[in-house]
């Protein structure tokens, strides 16, 4: 975990508008530390900032064909540190997309919509609940 009290979240989306909106929501509703990135590359470069959660858009190569797409970015993050929870975000509600995200070890998959923020919040809550359980489990395991 971080030394700082605030939870650090990376938001990654090439849709600047949606990115801004999401940032606004996070800042308004909870005391998070937010870093936003327009591309997967920028996100990877800054992984050393130690994010607690990454919210990652699925389609990152909409404009730039050579840009890293969401799944690639996800894989790179997991290679860097497989414990960083990543929630995938997409305007696609196709099941194949969601399943493929989960196969690539995403923590959750959220469809971009009016209620996306609420569902992201829930996902983040469950991430921390999950992490806490994991820690407790480890603590007991060590003592068995």
């Amino acid at each position: 975990m971080n030394n700082k009290n605030k939870i650090k979240i990376f938001l990654v989306d090439d849709d600047a508008l949606f990115l801004k909106l999401l940032e606004m929501d996070f800042l308004q509703h909870a005391d998070f530390e937010i870093e936003t990135f327009a591309t997967g590359e920028l996100c990877i470069e800054n992984l050393s900032h130690d994010p607690d959660v990454i919210i990652l858009d699925y389609v990152l190569d909409g404009l730039d064909k050579n840009a890293m797409n969401g799944i690639e970015t996800l894989d790179r993050i997991k290679t860097f540190d497989e414990h960083i929870p990543v929630v995938m975000l997409s305007s696609q509600d196709k099941i194949e997309v969601a399943v493929s995200c989960m196969h690539h070890k995403a923590f959750d998959y959220v469809v971009k919509s009016e209620t996306a923020f609420i569902r992201l919040q829930k996902a983040i809550n469950s991430i921390f609940g999950f992490q806490k359980l994991e820690k407790q489990l480890n603590w007991y395991m060590e003592r068995m």
Binding site: A16, M24, V59, G62
Partner: protein, 688 residues
């Protein structure tokens, strides 16, 4: 005898003879020795016959007479002893017997002189007096009795008065009880209708909302069935309420000027789909002599014709339905019009014609199984027509069809008809309307939220009148939708406060499940502008809101995004952004500039993709565009359009439609960019 003696003797004799009272002398032996004429008269015998006869024989009670006679000898005299003399022919004379003895010179008793005074008259008088006395006494008694009776009577009368008063009180009580009962019935019906309508409101409302979402054909079919059932249940509840109102004499009729032709044809539109579905023909015959504007109750007229026409449609499987109007008579003040609805349906048997106007009657019990319905429709029609002094008739032939005709009178007027609220189509571009909904029931709040969001209106919810007033004090709203029954402060009180204490003229529409006429009058009295019955008809709600908000020039004070964009209709709507940024100008400007930055490259990428037939690029560019539509409040039509492009791009079908769609998307994005630039500048100027 000497001469003097003779004279004296003659003189005495004539005195005796002159006396009207019988005089008689009797010797010691009881024999009559002398008498006067009066005795002869009273006994009806001659002096000769009487002389030397037994004196006592002439009395009715000889023994008593002898005793009196002996008494005279014993005492020397007797006074007023009553006896009765008998006439030879039977006539009786009451006499008072007075007698005294007479003696010779030596004092020897010779006999008795008796005077029997005739007391017949006296006796008669006495008897009469007695009788009079008796009758007087009787009379007195009678009088007393009468008094008693009178007293009794008085008592009885008093009792009667008491009873009368009692019964009057009882009658008054009974009247009051009856009135209370009617009131209670009204209240009960009103409450019941409220209780039934509130859940029905939610059921129908959410069914409508659900019907707009993506559904499979089956789901749609089921939901449509739910909605139809709900609608008919509401109709039934309304019908029952109407009948109850007529029964209670509470049905009131408006007197408003309206245009008959327009009113009728607008109403008949409702049947077009149904008539087409059944492949029937609708014929309208309108008498042009009917004055254009008339005064009456168009709503009730609609109700009557609606019921008749829906019956006609229901019972006709082929042929036509004719709706005709005919001017029967016209004078200076009013016109009488005959309306007729003729169908070529199943007809009604003659012996059933009498009953069809009764509550819950259908011509045959089989009818309801085959055609549905409750049989309340015609009962209401009859009540409505007759309550307006009209008449209704029916002619029918089984298998041929039926004609229902009714006559109603309308007043003539020079006034213009109130322009009926035209249905504003929901896609007419009216946005930025801020609605305050005062509604206490959570499910209705949710429904109103859903509907208003659908309209693209900004909305705020208050749980009761008090909260609504507080909200209204803090923020300005374009219109208030006010439920009438709320805890803490109800709709009437709240409206009263808004109108009279806050002096606000903000339009208020009453939301009511309880449409008794009493309430409507009350709505108007407290200053509400309009009302709408639950379950809310979306289109009606929309046109009422827009109608009321448009009428007075909207006061859009302190709204940074107000601008004069000329005649062009704005494609963007800042509501979402304002809400999301909580009206923070810095954030809003940031968002707008981001859009302005990112959109032009997307437009060119989209165009490029189309040009190069690079479907994947096209797909991705459009994909990125989609979220921005809703953020900037651009109509969802464009979002749908973009999704279509996406679909075509991924399936590579309908390529020929693509250029037109892409062009439209480009245009709307360019327009949005221009408008957002203006918006950006105006925010910048108002927030230096």
């Amino acid at each position: 005898m000497s001469i003097i003696n003779r004279h004296e003797s003659q003189y005495a004799r004539s005195l005796i003879e002159a006396s009207l009272d019988p005089l008689v002398t009797i010797n010691t032996k009881g024999k009559i020795t002398d008498m006067n004429e009066a005795l002869a008269n009273i006994t009806g015998m001659t002096r000769e016959q009487l002389t030397n006869t037994d004196f006592f024989d002439y009395f009715t009670e000889p023994q008593k007479a002898r005793e009196v006679y002996l008494e005279v000898f014993a005492n020397g005299s007797v006074t007023d002893s009553p006896l009765t003399l008998r006439h030879g022919k039977g006539k009786l004379t009451d006499v008072l017997f007075n007698g005294s003895v007479y003696k010779d010179n030596r004092g020897n008793v010779l006999g008795v002189v008796v005077v029997a005074r005739d007391v017949t008259d006296q006796k008669r008088i006495a008897t009469e007096l007695n009788e009079a006395k008796i009758s007087a006494e009787k009379a007195t008694k009678v009088a007393e009795e009468a008094t008693k009776v009178a007293e009794e009577a008085t008592k009885v009368a008093e009792e009667a008065t008491k009873v009368a008063e009692e019964s009057k009180r009882k009658a008054e009580n009974a009247t009051k009880i009856a009135e209370d009962a009617v009131k209670a019935k009204q209240q009960f019906l009103s409450n019941m209708s409220h209780e039934i309508r509130t859940p029905m409101n939610a059921i129908i409302g959410f069914t409508k909302v659900l019907l707009k979402t993506d559904l499979t054909a089956k789901q749609k079919e089921y939901l449509t069935a739910i909605k139809m059932s709900g609608d008919s249940l509401i109709v039934l509840i309304n019908d029952i309420l109407d009948l109850a109102k007529v029964d209670a004499g509470k049905m009131t009729f408006e007197q408003t000027p309206f245009k008959m032709v327009l009113s009728l044809s607008a109403m008949l539109h409702l049947f077009e789909t149904k008539i087409q579905e059944k492949n029937l023909k609708l014929v309208k015959v309108y008498d042009d002599n009917i004055p254009e504007v008339l005064v009456g109750d168009p709503v009730r007229l609609h109700q009557i014709i609606l019921n008749l026409v829906s019956n006609a449609v229901k019972f006709t499987s082929n042929g036509k339905i004719i709706i005709s109007t005919h001017l029967l008579s016209e004078d200076e003040k009013k016109v009488t019009i005959e309306f007729a609805v003729t169908d070529t349906g199943i007809g009604i048997p003659e012996n059933k014609l009498e009953n069809i106007f009764e509550n819950f009657q259908q011509a045959t019990s089989g009818t309801s199984r085959l055609y549905g319905g409750t049989g309340l429709g015609l009962a209401i029609v009859k009540q409505l027509v007759e309550a307006q002094n009209g008449t209704i008739h029916v002619k029918s032939q089984v298998g041929e069809g039926s004609t229902f005709s009714f006559t109603l009178s309308f007043l003539k007027t020079n006034a213009d008809a109130e322009s009926e609220l035209e249905m504003v189509e929901p896609d007419a571009e009216i946005r930025n309307i801020k609605v305050l909904v005062a509604e206490d029931i959570a499910i209705n709040q949710l429904l109103m939220k859903t509907i208003l969001d659908d309209f693209g209106f900004e909305r705020d919810i208050a749980e009761n009148g008090k909260i609504a007033i507080e909200k209204l004090k803090a923020t300005s709203y374009d219109i208030i939708l006010m439920d009438l029954q709320m805890p803490e402060m109800n709709g009437f009180e709240a409206t009263n406060y808004i109108r009279n204490t806050m002096n606000s003229k903000v339009p208020i529409i009453a939301l009511t499940a309880d449409v008794t006429t009493v309430d409507l009058a009350k709505c108007r009295a407290v200053g509400m502008n309009d009302y709408i019955a639950k379950p809310v008809d979306e289109r009606l709600l929309y046109s009422k809101i827009v109608g009321l908000v448009k009428k007075p020039v909207p006061v859009l004070e302190q709204k940074v995004h107000v601008q004069n964009s000329g005649d062009r209709i704005k494609c963007i709507d800042m509501d979402y952004l304002i809400r999301r940024t909580k009206s923070n100008p810095v954030l809003m400007m940031e968002m707008i500039s981001l859009y302005l930055e990112q959109t032009p490259p997307l437009i060119s990428a989209m165009k490029q993709g189309l040009q190069d037939k690079d479907w994947n690029s096209l797909y991705l560019a459009v994909h990125k565009m989609i979220p921005s539509f809703s953020i900037m409040g651009i109509s969802s039509d464009f979002e749908d359009m973009a999704k279509k492009v996406q679909e075509f791009a991924s399936t590579q079908k309908h390529a020929e439609e693509m250029p037109a769609l892409v062009l439209q998307l480009e245009n709307i994005c360019v327009q949005a960019c221009e408008e957002l630039e203006e918006e950006f500048n105006s925010i910048k100027n108002t927030n230096p």
